[in-house]
Symmetry: C2
Subunit: 232 residues, 2 copies
Amino acid sequence: MPVDPRERRAARHAQPAAVPAQQKRRKEPITVDRITDAALEVVATQGYDALTMRSVAAVLDTGPASLYAHVVNKADIDELIIGRLCSQLVLPKPDPASWQEQIRHVCAQARDQFLKYPGISRAALAMAATDLDVLRVNEGMLAILLAGRIGPQTAAWAIDALWLYVCAYALEHSLVPQADDWVVSREELVHRFAALPADQFPQTRRYAFQLTAGMGHERFDFTLNLMIGNLR
Amino acid sequence: MPVDPRERRAARHAQPAAVPAQQKRRKEPITVDRITDAALEVVATQGYDALTMRSVAAVLDTGPASLYAHVVNKADIDELIIGRLCSQLVLPKPDPASWQEQIRHVCAQARDQFLKYPGISRAALAMAATDLDVLRVNEGMLAILLAGRIGPQTAAWAIDALWLYVCAYALEHSLVPQADDWVVSREELVHRFAALPADQFPQTRRYAFQLTAGMGHERFDFTLNLMIGNLR
DNA sequence: CTACTCTTGGAACATTGTTCGTGTCAACGG
DNA sequence: CCGTTGACACGAACAATGTTCCAAGAGTAG
């Protein structure tokens, strides 16, 4: 009974209501869940740029108009996939002794999920923070920090900063390896930095190696430590 | 002599070459600079979403095709406006005694510039970091941190993290006040948090006030302190 | 069986980025 | 002084996108 998509989206941002089980009308009716699955499949295989109404509809073997009975917008699909992604994060039971590890672990999970779906963090950055699945992650991180004796205001702002950074980091990572004839490898980058005019870019020339380092997740870990290590 | 736009863009990412002065052919010939001006005007008045080839061309009183003689892409225009924006940041002469203040000041400048052009940080996040104007800011921040006796690797990664955060913060700020019938004010947000089910969202309910606080730039300052305070 | 509601999807529309080909103007060679 | 040339400008068009309209189908209640 997918009535009005607007109501359905609003429900995801308000308190959840008890929804009765719904029976399927056809063998494979189009559902919000199936749309979400299809969208994630598209993003996982072809990247976020390929996520269009038509590509999602094509996976479901129909036209784009059919989606609008279940979905408000394309932005709504963005919310759905981010919500699904967030609902797959496992949130540990807060342990005051290891709160730093726990926060790090949650962030690493989010990072890995984002990287599994290239470019999807753009949707996460553009999304309202009142989605229930996102709020669930927020609640989990808040509980961890509070258990670690972090003050409420500090905890709230720290979570915001961490989430913002995770999204931005994933976005940056998904942009680098697209390598259209024009984006470059690390050696090329170092070489380019070294070729800069010495009078304007002395430090960049000197530390070209350090500037391009951290291709694994060392930069990520570094920044998380920067933020977490200073919380108390 | 705007010959091939591709070469011109490449020049902005390589070492700058001495370019001879160019004479104008008409009274108001279309220039890369004028395109940049027009684009920034559009973003400042109507936001980044309104930045289209046609809107830029309309400001210059012409059609979209005319832009492609000076510009490779729309992504190229993005680079141009971010470059212009970065070139307007003033970078202080590094002072070992006040490196923290200096870094904070540079970041605050970037933040304010981003906020002056709503949504423009999306372009900054999507851009390659080899643009000369962006590199200039990088060089300036690097010099400040190095003067503050921060190790090169730490400094390089810290700059990356700071820049990423500034962009993400500006992006978030430019999304909130768009308020399409559906995005909400703070009171509404607090009320909504308080109405969440108590069993699933105890902390969110309890600290709804703190979670929605920091509408000024307190969140920004908080995060910057978090990152800067832990560098040594 | 009929009437009604909800779902489906083909076609179409507006808006985007981008390209083609032609017109047009300024400078230069004779 | 005039014709050539070459770069610039730009109207028109194309493909792809998000979105809406409307008609037809499927299922259910009376």
